[in-house]
Amino acid sequence: MLVWVVALHCEAKPVIDYYGLKKSASHHAFDVYLKDNMHCIISGIGKTATAAATAWIAGLNRHKHPIAWINLGTAGSSAHSMGAAVSIFKISDSDSNRNFYPVPIFDSGLEPAHCHTLGKPSIDYHPHQIFDMEASAFFEVATRFSSAELVQCLKIISDTPAQQTGHDKARISELINRHIVELAGFAQSLGNLANQVGRLEIGESNWEKILSCAHFTQTQQSRLGKSLRFLLSQPGQTDALIAELADLKSAELIIAHLENLCHRQTLAL
């Protein structure tokens, strides 16, 4: 599952158009555009709005684990040219003075940058930092739901000391659209990482099927999960395994059977 958290419609438009996302008619707290395993949520400007949107969409997708996150938006900078795309390696919050560090787990080809998240707009440019109004809140909230490697911020420079895009929506969309192929490549890489993590989980429907075979205590569920995560990670196991378990009528028999299978398979490492 990949979620884009974007403050404004004009910033989200290139992503919506590129992926052909459709606006959800059933979600009303925030505008959400979606398709398959991708959501794009329009949060509104500022930390509070971003935090609320991030937490809300995380709750909506609580069964779709893991979630990969991208905060996409525009930023101001005196150290970059207009329209430059950067990947954020460090986020500083101006109100709390806290720092956050998205993990650069793959080489995106984008220039790294330090993003300072402000509580209100400013034209005081810092020589070594870019400015936005959402990244710190996004990162702090999203990492409650996913590990930091899956939570990334990408910014497109829309304001410099010499030139400001301001509220020119078409211009903002155009600046972001110039980088849509790179952004999509980044999203693909991030999605692949999330899939690596997801492959280690027991799918919800499989878990429900197995739990319905017998009554399991919490401790038994823990033992069950341990064996299943291993066995289901081995190729070609799932359907045959679940069918076998349906014939065993008690939790202890099921667990013993699974643990035996594990021990037999692991003789050869």
């Binding site: 390696f89 793959f106 590990s147 930091a148 490697e149 341990k226 990670s233 081995q234 003789l267 050869a268």
Partner: protein, 332 residues
């Protein structure tokens, strides 16, 4: 080599920091206040990070040298360990480091002088009794040596401390710096080995057995004492024949009389480390084996472990004298 370099502001201008940064010149550099900001946050996935870790350069403010756990030692009475670096270049699936820290970033403490001062204090306290200092507890002692220049700094420190011994525990072949220095009889480079099958399956990024033996032999020829650490012994259906082959391979290159010490131990992990590692690697056959809990340690069932150690010990003692053999007695 590393995805990025995080540097604490406090050590940004240290000569050792500048030298490391110079070697990693095209790597993004991020300034931080304290290594804990990057190393400690909960929401990190060690397994994902391990594929492309960063490097953190920091200062260790306290606890530079600590006493070893009770069963950790090779005959000495006073045993300490010090970690100039946390996390390892290699990715061995049986390693307790996987479950030790939330981050897989390599963290190097550049205030070597503070470590040396504490080592010297401890050595003086016990003088003239010998004191052992183990350097490979939280990392591989030599794997990052070209970057950290650990050997260049610390070997001369130990050369000056007449009652102090240092063990450099490694799976690396980075012995170049040692070969440039005058050998010190109280610095033992101990090479860890598992059998060929376990090495292939579990030791990702580690040099071949042959290359490590070549490095060992180079040290022997230069006059350095070496050790052998056959730890962990991993259970699999052919562990016996593989262990015998390993010994044959080792002793076809290394003369047993050149060995300072040999230790042997079966696979084991502290309970909390095991839980964490198993959560990260649920697909790993090693962790799905029949393992039991005893005194907060996850290991093979006692009878199996005893059988493995008994077999391996018997084969090993056909090659080495018992005086240099130190079994890992973690059950004591």
């Amino acid at each position: 080599m590393v995805s990025c370099v995080y540097v604490e502001s406090e050590v940004r201008q240290y000569p050792r920091t500048l030298q490391i940064i110079k070697q990693l010149k095209s790597t993004p550099l991020i300034e931080i206040e304290h290594y804990g900001e990057v190393f400690n946050p909960r929401a990190q996935n060690f397994r994902l990070q391990k594929s492309n870790p960063g490097l953190i350069i920091a200062r260790k403010h306290k606890g530079q040298v600590l006493k070893t756990p009770k069963s950790y030692g090779i005959g000495g009475y006073h045993n300490y360990y010090f970690s100039h670096m946390l996390n390892c270049l290699y990715d061995c699936r049986y390693c307790f480091l996987q479950g030790m820290y939330r981050s897989a970033h390599q963290l190097v403490f550049v205030n070597y002088e503070d470590f040396a001062a504490e080592i010297s204090q401890i050595a003086t306290r016990y003088d003239p009794e010998p004191v052992w200092f183990f350097s490979g507890y939280d990392c591989d002692s030599l794997a990052n040596d070209p970057l950290t220049r650990f050997v260049e700094y610390f070997v001369p420190v130990f050369a000056e401390l007449g009652n102090s011994w240092m063990e450099l525990r490694t799976k690396s072949t980075q012995v170049r710096q040692l070969l440039k220095l005058e050998p010190c009889s109280r610095v033992v480079t101990a090479f860890s080995f598992t059998d060929q099958y376990s090495h292939r399956k579990l030791e990702h990024g580690v040099a071949s057995i042959k290359k490590r033996l070549d490095a060992m032999q180079a040290l022997v020829e230069a006059g350095w004492p070496i050790g052998l650490r056959l730890d962990p012994i991993i259970y699999h259906s052919n562990y016996q024949s593989e262990f015998v082959q390993l010994l044959q391979q080792i002793f076809s290159v290394i003369d047993a009389t050149a060995l300072h010490s040999v230790s042997l131990g079966a696979f084991r992990l502290p309970k909390d480390n095991y839980k964490q590692v198993h959560r990260l690697y649920p697909d790993e056959p090693l962790f799905a084996q029949n393992l039991t809990l005893d005194k907060d340690i996850i290991s093979y069932p006692l009878t199996l472990e005893q059988e493995m150690i008994s077999f391996c010990e018997q084969k090993l003692l056909q090659w080495i004298p018992p005086e240099i053999y130190f079994p890992c007695n973690w059950h004591d």
